[in-house]
Symmetry: D2
Subunit: 291 residues, 4 copies
């Protein structure tokens, strides 16, 4: 398939590479051009503007945040104006429900398709084509994209025809991760102050109640107090929880645990730890406990 691909960060690069491996023809765009050119060796065509990458029947965006998506697609020389009628825009990054709704409307008005298809998985999963993809949009548009999803991920979950539903699922997942970290941090402060070695503690917890990889990963970071360099920063954690709370506000759903986590991320930022890993929530809990 001929595909435009915009956004070649750590995740996007790995995903684009897997599309090329799968035999698809890519026109790639990245704001700092070096990353696009790095893919030329794998057979990608380099675009010099978002619009150039939008002349294909399908264009995928994998960008940092709402602002980047708006700049690439909705700006004055944004991709949307170059995108053909009946073409499909697949937004695979984590964006707000509000922007997802706005893109739905804008593309519909232009006679284009829009699919939200955010992913669960870290860069290693992206490299191994093992991502989980949560897709929502018109069934025909999703069907069109399925071969692409198959080249990048291990499984696709369809969550209905309203694209922003997929964004909501993704955001809620990040809320569950953030609140898990908060709770692990509180439990670690409690048991550490009670004289229990954090490594022993997390060995118990992840061997018994919570065998999920997320618990092992974050338990280890907290036990080691290894918050730098960040895998995913407090600043990004705050951004996502903010998006969760905005979505919850729009739907009138009180989420006190999300509010609590937001306030703690905010305290982290205010205290100069925005660039630390979001698991540094546990350092805040430790500090509040006088540890």
């Amino acid at each position: 398939m001929d595909v435009g691909f915009i956004g070649l960060g750590q995740m996007g690069q790995a995903m684009a590479r897997n599309l090329l491996k799968g035999g698809h023809r890519l026109t790639v765009y990245n704001r700092s051009r070096g990353k696009a050119e790095a893919l030329a060796g794998d057979g990608a065509k380099v675009a010099y503007s978002p619009g150039d990458a939008c002349r294909e029947p399908v264009v995928i965006t994998m960008l940092a945040d709402d602002t980047a998506v708006e700049a690439a697609m909705l700006g004055e020389r944004g991709g949307l104006s170059a995108l053909g009628k009946d073409a499909v825009h697949v937004s695979m990054s984590t964006i707000s429900v509000a922007l997802s709704d706005r893109l739905t409307e804008t593309h519909r008005a232009a006679g284009q398709g829009y699919v939200a298809a955010p992913v669960f998985g870290r860069p290693e999963a992206a490299a191994a084509a093992k991502l989980f993809i949560v897709a929502a949009g018109a069934p025909s548009a999703i069907a069109t994209c399925q071969p692409l999803f198959d080249a990048m991920g291990q499984r696709t979950f369809a969550v209905g025809e309203k694209p922003s539903a997929a964004s909501l699922v993704k955001l809620s997942g990040n809320f569950l991760l953030a609140s898990m970290i908060e709770c692990l941090g509180e439990a670690a402060a409690l048991t550490r102050k009670g004289g229990i070695d954090p490594h022993v503690y997390f060995d118990i917890i992840t061997s018994t109640l919570f065998s999920a990889p997320a618990y092992k990963t974050y338990g280890a970071l907290i036990a080691d107090q290894r918050y730098e360099p960040a895998g995913f920063s407090m600043a990004l954690g705050l951004k996502d929880v903010r998006l969760v709370l905005n979505a919850a506000d729009a739907l009138a759903v009180p989420m006190p645990a999300a509010s609590l986590v937001r306030d703690h991320f905010l305290a982290g930022l205010a205290q100069g730890e925005g660039a630390s890993d979001w698991s540094a929530l546990a350092r805040l809990s430790a500090r509040n406990a006088g540890l």
Copy 2:
């Protein structure tokens, strides 16, 4: 080994049975005698008072709460006065850090040993001798008990010489479960109000981020809104979170997520849902969201 065993609820019964299978000789006591007599067929000797069960070198208690342990061991005709010098009391139920500390002192003063060895695992795990046991106390006392632990569980974690440390680990684990339920409930309210089918939602969450059985179990209960009959009731959840907060208070550790969960359990109780499963926290979140 000759062992006294006090408390034959669903968990205790299965544990006692596995001790008998392992070749140990048991003297069992239960307040309602029927449950003790049920074990006579498996070879257990029936005691008619806690004291009668305390004439062995090791006595295990597996009782509902602090009050039951105090009544059985510390009351006027409690087991402690019948327990021999050098005998060891192994407390395997979930009790408060404060009571664990008090038992440590009381047994020490009487020249007896005390081990706290609470377990992780549900009745099925108890029946299959697959419990996880978290033990703390004098190393020699734990060594004495190891064959018993091996007959009941799949693995023993030693967390030091201070018995109450084991109680603290157990309580913190229940906090992690309760707060996980709270967060799942908030996420379910958000996504359900956003139009996503809860079964689809939890399928995604437990296939991707959180593969741990706890997430699958509670995700299913929440998706089905199946809160009765209770596997573990809101009233018991509240009791345990209260014990967590009491321990946290004594150690001066702020635990805002625990406070939040406590307040929600309290709301559940106040609204007449104390006998519902503790996963009914999700029903509260749904109700607060107008669902």
Copy 3:
């Protein structure tokens, strides 16, 4: 002085009338024209568009929210384009810090002055020219407006040259009121469930610790459970707390009490009580307590 006045709700009408009484010449605009014409009898000139009201050296806006201010001043045919160079826009309603900052920039770019001057006081205070006015902006612009402030209020507080500082003070005041209501509601639920008559309770509280009128007003509403009709609705309370939290987010200030209040307003809205008085927070607390 020649003054344009936009926004003739309950507050705006009373304020405009006091300006007329003070000898100022007013050109008034209101979206539903009836309210503007009602002031013609008092000597006001009726404008038929925001722009028409913006041809004076000073224009005051007293509108419902950000959206209304944006529509009146920043829209395509908004007042700003009609406002002369060196004219001053005085925004007296409760608007967001972000909009206040944006107006500062926009007016500066157009060579115009901008003063934020929100008020504390209910409609009766407005009618009696007893408002408290919190003003921020260029000292010369504030000096220009002082005679107008004197005609509408009993005292003006200057809080610096950055206009949005006045908006922040106003919003923080509404946070203090909302959180006071939340706490009164929790205390009322506690004592009422403890068997104490709420009228007796609030008589004690307002006779001893808290003699402020706000406590008396809201204590009476809560004791009487008189939440309809609303003096100030839950929906408006939510809007203002949302603005507080947005400002706090932008400044990286965690405000957990504000988060708590936001979540409770949200629960009120979700349960269909958005039009009730914001003191109905106490009804939520009562309901959560099973009352």
Copy 4:
């Protein structure tokens, strides 16, 4: 009237002195005897044990906490055993609802009366006989005590026949003060980080919305960041909020704002600030905001 008076701290001393001035005959007891002897000059008789002070028809206790009251009244040589049949114990300090209920039972069983009559007011109010007294108990017992209340306070509020109701009102009042401080601290952090001078800020707030003395007192402490020496310490604030939450737990009343305040006091204690004034909650908010 002949009155025993136990507990001569800052408050008790002033109250006892006013009883003497009112013509009552006092037998006074204090653990450190100097304070009792200081009152001898005013005509008080010094008792050498709580029991000695309990041989009068009315005995007042004004002690630091539950432990002190239990020690004085319920211990082995406690006052209760010396108290005559039909005598009345008036507990005027802030104690738990649970202890108030226990004293009710104990005195009833001994054929004695019990009145809970905690006070609102600081030492200066006590010295000026301007306390507010909240009394609960048998009407006849309260009537007996009324002349004593009149000698110590400016007004007595009767809140029913169940003594612990008065304790509950007092505790709820301390909750309202503590949560007010929390909210003032959050608002101060917000506005200070927004560039507003805290003295100006609190001048506005206490001139407009909240004229109550409590707001002025604590606003000034927060603006001055004058948290030492403590008027009322964080440790005592924590103790009282803990009693509030215990009472709320027993009545099944969720109080999230109380939980929040408890967690912040706990953080203060954990960070070594237990001896600071409880208004140092505002320092925590400032620190969390990176100020």
